[in-house]
Amino acid sequence: MTALAITATSLISALGRGKAATLAALHARRGGLVANPFPGIAGGGFIGRAPEVETHRLPAPLAAFTCRNNLLLDLALATDGFTEAVAQAVARHGPARIGVVLGTSTSGIASGEDAYRARDPRSGALPANFDFAHTHDFFSAARFTQAALGLAGPAFVVSTACASSARAFVDAAQLIAAGVIDAAVVGGADTLCRMTLAGFAALGLIASGPCRPSDAARDGLSIGEAAGFALLERGADSPFVLLGYGESSDGHHMSAPHPEALGASAAMRDALRHAGLGADEIDYINLHGTGTVANDASEDRAIAAVFGDRVPCSSTKGFTGHTLGAAGIVEAVIALLALEAGLLPGGLNLTRVDPEFRAHVLSANVERPIARVLSNSFGFGGANCSLIFGCR
């Protein structure tokens, strides 16, 4: 594929608001996970909570969109100069030539959870002020973002579970390649909510302490929340680019990874093929690395099959938690920060790499200039997505 310029990015997560806060936390090896304070939610564990959400308000004309997920998105829009960069892209391409493709797994479902707790005891009806379309609905995230930025191109949400916001890059790249649009706002958000905390607890996948991806003693994941964006533009000048993407399905099970990780390795090989790169041209891999026993073992087999033990890799979910549908954009922005700062972040809470693992897992930060990073995101339904970012 033709490399696509990435002309702006932004991020808010448990590591803080903005790329500088994120990079500082990675440098200092300071994670964002805290003990789960939510009462009555089975599983307990640790969570990664984003700052400022409780005190933030949407602009009055967009107030109908108010829900935790859209508040997170709005904070990300107002971070790292993202909204200003989009305004410049509008001046270049026109608002109708810029699409919005956002990934989310549960959108504003936290508002639906509140509404179900406030049902009329006799009729069972949801409260009259519950605005499903602007909050709970899957599409709410993209609709809000499109309205907030004043864009007029095609907009939709991609929801492939924990691969959602990685997949948003692919969908946007295809729309640009097919000539439908010249630029796209991609990324996404997912919010801490009862549904996912209780759901992963029911699956027995919540770690007792902060998650420890790749560790021999790992015992599950910690859920986080985040929102982030990237602006992709055809023919623009920028130091960083999307070089390739790969996607596949496991075709195996709804929530368990394929034991031989054939889908994951297919996605990584497809990304290398799209980018026209050999396996030895990747300098760092940001793992999906959720911290569950099965995911990390399966992903290690896939990495070893494609890259052997040569390419340093790590999961940054020990810092941010697993931000589910937002994981793709969180780790895309971290991959771009790794390129910009020459920082390969070692896994956090990682005391002993699983001795069964064959890949080259980093447990400490390494600082050196790098040129190309591959980022993996895998989701329920066996949805796999690998993205390759590079310096121009």
């Binding site: 179900y116 599409f139 993209a142 759901g199 596949s248 989701g379």
Partner: protein, 271 residues
């Protein structure tokens, strides 16, 4: 301009039980009679998965399978395991989401939800079961755009067909939502349709051609000519595809508009 050839069609809606029956109704050869029926069980799924599949998954897999089977009549090399897929649905498996929300809101259910229900609540549950059914490794996307789901989904499937120079299965579906979620989002009946799209004129077995583009001007949705069919359009977001299906059934040449949140998808359909 995005151009594709249609190689297979799947359909399930009220009084439209499959493309063969539905085509005669859509073409005006048989009268429309409003009746609902449960979609066929997805026999391709292993027994365990089939038992666990919710109503939206059954609907989606039924129309997807029918479209691919039709396409394979003239293109036997088309393999569902390697066929790219784009699933589009406004609400996904909303009945399972509603059930989980009821459980989570019940203070006596302190322990929580069923793990199977949880993984069946993700929007890409139909895409996931589709690839499980075929042991497929091809990508299976899953999109939502509320009232613009038909236009956005078809636009994305056509763009993927062109960008990847590869056939793509497009599957559009929405199943009725139970109370109280159903009171917030109208879905009167189950409606699903699927198209197998191929990048260029593929000779034998073509059921129609589509040329499409995004038009930034707003336009109203084109509805079927037949009043009884036009009346169905507002009852399910996926039923916005009825005008396209009618044109294909009648073998007409017609321009159609399908609205997005801003602007619309402009389709030119030719036999």
């Amino acid at each position: 301009m995005l151009r594709a050839t249609i190689l297979g069609i799947g359909l399930w809606g009220p009084g439209l039980f499959g493309w063969r029956e539905g085509r005669a109704v859509l073409a005006g050869a048989n009268p429309f009679a409003h009746a609902e029926a449960k979609p066929p069980a997805p026999l391709l799924l292993p027994a365990n998965e089939r038992r666990r599949a919710g109503p939206a998954v059954r609907l989606a897999l039924g129309v997807a399978e029918a479209a691919v089977a039709m396409a394979r009549n003239d293109h036997p090399a088309l393999d569902p395991a390697t066929l790219r897929a784009v699933f589009a649905s406004s609400n996904g498996e909303g009945a399972v989401v509603d059930d989980l929300l009821k459980t989570l809101a019940d203070p006596t259910e302190a322990v929580g939800v069923s793990p199977t229900q949880f993984h069946n609540s993700v929007h890409n549950v139909a895409a996931g079961y589709w690839s499980i059914a075929h042991g497929g490794r091809a990508p299976a996307d899953s999109l939502a755009a509320h009232d613009a789901t038909f236009a956005a989904g078809l636009l994305k499937a056509l763009a993927e067909t062109v960008a990847e120079a590869s056939p793509v299965l497009f599957c559009l579906f929405d199943a009725p939502l139970p109370f109280p979620l159903g009171a917030c989002r109208r879905t009167d009946f189950a409606f699903g349709m699927a198209l197998v799209l191929a990048p260029q004129a593929s000779g034998a077995g073509a059921l129609g051609q589509i040329a499409a583009r995004f038009d930034p001007r707003d336009a109203a949705l084109d509805r079927p000519h037949a009043p009884a069919l036009a009346a169905l359009v507002d009852g399910n977001p996926a039923a916005q595809s009825l005008a396209l299906l009618e044109v294909l059934a009648r073998g007409e040449h017609r321009h159609l508009a399908a609205p997005l949140t801003t602007g619309h998808l402009r389709l030119e359909v030719t036999p």
